[in-house]
Amino acid sequence: MSGQSTQSAICMQAAESMSMRIRRVGARKLPQRLKTVLMRSAALRKLDWRRAWPEYLGALTITGFCTVIALPFTPHVGLLTIVMFYLLGTTVGALRLGRGPSAFTAVTNMLAFNYFFVPPVFSFHVDDPQYVFALGVMLIVALVIANLMISIRRHRDTADARQDRTAALYAMSRELAAASDAPAMMDAATNHIGATFHCSVTVLTREDNGRLSPITPSDESAGGGARMACRAVDLDLAQEVVEHGERFIKDAIYLPLLGGGRVRGVMIVSPRCPTPALAAEQLQLLDAFAVQLALSLQRDRLAKTAEAARIAADRVVQRNTLLASISHDLRTPLTTIAGAGHLIAQPEYALNVDRRTTLGLLIERKARDMSRLLTNVLELMQLESSRSALRAEWQSIDDLVAIALRGHEARLTERRIVVHLPSNLPLVLVEATLIVQMLGNLLENAAKYTPSGTTITISAAVQDEAMLLVVADNGPGLPSGDSERVFDSFQRGHSDTDIAGVGLGLAICRAGARLHGGEICAMNNPGGGARFEITLPVATRACESLPTESPLC
């Protein structure tokens, strides 16, 4: 842990010294825009002095230390040895100090040597011209050593920093690759870039209409940095970056995100506090980050497009199946109705009353089948298309169950119905007709697929702040492997049966449950039979407490 922090401290130091170098050397070479940043940072020079004075103090200390150590040896050793002391001091100083302080050490060492050791001592005056020459050589040697030491140190730091950044880039790529959607990618990029550059990051993506909009972070807690960054984003500038596809630097750095030959968005990197401007190398690294992010976003976009295409294709198939099924299921009873009507209408057939009655009942029954089918089709279309809002009201589950049972009583005469509803069930905020239809469809389903004598159980309970409705039976149960497929439109549990009606009932149940933000699932009871569970995470309201009444007898 501490090793890591020292490493990052070194890295930071290196970055600072690098930025200083760039400021001096690169001003000629770097593009005009970068110059503006450098000029801004010139205002921060004072800060550099304040930071540098301890180093100059260190330089003086080294000189003093060398002098104090050398003084006792004066009578015993020659001046050459003393010079070596001072050169050693300069070398050690260059190991830790910056270029300026190192040079300063060289100079102060030379002066100290002159003052304390070169005759006449305790004076800067030099009698022997030979000593003037020696002092000059000493200064040059010290400066060269210091310079070499600093160069070596800088190379090592650069290598360290480069390795560090490669690691950061790699870490981000890995996290981006693992991210499943744009907000997750944005979180990953924000965290990594923010940590590497000590800045906050905002990503704006270009919508289809050309406007820029921020990617909302998937998790509130994850995007603390991103939220902070949202404060001062120049949207006009970002738009300009999108149009020109080039990096722009103002208060913050605006980087275009290129993908598929187009600008897909802008990454805005704003420093958290005023820091020295970023070096060219850091800008390159930022570019690399931006490219990584852009590629990931592109990948996400392509995946979404593919998914949308797949859904559209599915929908076409589904529509076609729907049309085919509906036209079949409407034509069949129509044939019966038309035929029966014809038979009744023709006097020459001279049907007796019994036969007329049979035909009349047939017409009525077929018409009802058609009516039910139409209701289901219309409801499903409404649920799957435009309808997004629930017409929810406070309802009691007891009521809804009773109405659903009442509507299907005739078909359930040969089944045993058991209703388990706790008396303290709260009211729920649901769309009553939809829930009644869902329950009705489940009952109808049970009636269709179970033999007579089956027990159908309806129960309800509050579970994890959701209302759980269960319709279960002890019939033959679901065919294995069909438990999810039964909810698709036009699926029948047993493909080659003469059971009437397209399989829309359960599809409506699922659509209805989802419209309430819930889900329906099918399973087999442990003890046999099918079991459908509707979970509705809807608002509930506890019943008003009623005065309890005890029977009078």
Binding site: W394, D398, D399, R406, H408, V419, L427, L546, E549
Partner: protein
């Protein structure tokens, strides 16, 4: 056949439905009059003073709701609305304007007949005597506010439950909207119908043989409640709703 005297005015523009309704009511001893448009219907209602009016909400010239409003300005004649399944809000509006009952299209003939008979009976006899109300195996002594089950066990109704039941009884076999029930049982200030559901639930527990499948206190989804007093209407309606 006292119903032989009853005149049914039908406001309906579809010829097929006209034919079916005419045959249905004539076969059951009613006199039938049919109007194609709202204007004609209003006129006929004034001229012939029918005993019951059936109104299709989708008439060619005017909204059926308009006709209900017009008739209610001068007559308390029972009005039964014929409405499509999807037009839930329209149904409620019809009740607020003074309709007495409704049947959903596609409706079944016997159900419609049962509804019309129930309404006429109520209308002819006026209000129920506030004596003993017989609901299958349970009899309710409305003056003592006590329900007596078949096994002789008696359950007392709370004042609020009693007021709700009284309101339902007063409207006979007809639908009572949430708003009416709230107004008559709680008073004008009460607007939230969730408490109503709770009290209806407790009434059912006291009066119904199987509260989970109530026979007598029926919920009419999105509209209100109906007390089914006459078994004939109850069974017929049941058969019809279940698609026999």
């Amino acid at each position: 056949m006292t119903e032989a005297m009853h005149l049914v005015l039908i406001l309906e523009d579809d010829q097929g439905i006209q034919n079916v309704l005419r045959m249905l009511f004539e076969a059951n001893g009613f006199r039938v009059m049919i109007a194609n448009t709202a204007a004609r219907g209003e006129q006929d209602a004034r001229l012939f003073r029918p005993d019951v009016v059936l109104v299709d909400l989708g008439l060619p010239d005017h909204d059926g709701l308009h006709v209900i409003t017009a008739i209610r300005t001068w007559s308390p004649v029972p009005i039964v609305v014929l409405t499509a399944r999807s037009a839930e809000s329209q149904r409620l509006a019809a009740f607020e304007l003074g309709a007495d009952d409704y049947v959903l299209k596609p409706f079944s003939a016997p159900e419609l007949l049962a509804r019309v008979r129930a309404i006429l009976r109520r209308h002819v006899r006026g209000e129920l005597p506030m004596g003993v109300l017989e609901l299958g195996d349970v009899s309710v002594d409305m003056t003592r506010r006590v329900a007596r089950r078949l096994d002789g066990c008696e359950v007392r109704l709370t004042p609020l439950e009693h007021r709700i039941l009284e309101t339902l009884v007063r409207h006979g076999d007809r639908i009572v909207t949430h708003a009416t029930l709230l107004k008559e049982a709680w008073g004008p200030s009460r607007e939230d119908s969730s408490a109503l559901r709770v009290y209806i639930g407790s009434l059912r527990r006291k009066l119904e043989v199987d509260p989970s499948q109530p026979r007598y206190i029926r919920t009419e989804l999105g509209v209100g409640y109906r007390l089914v007093i006459h078994a004939e209407a109850a069974t017929l309606a049941l058969d019809e709703q279940s698609g026999r």
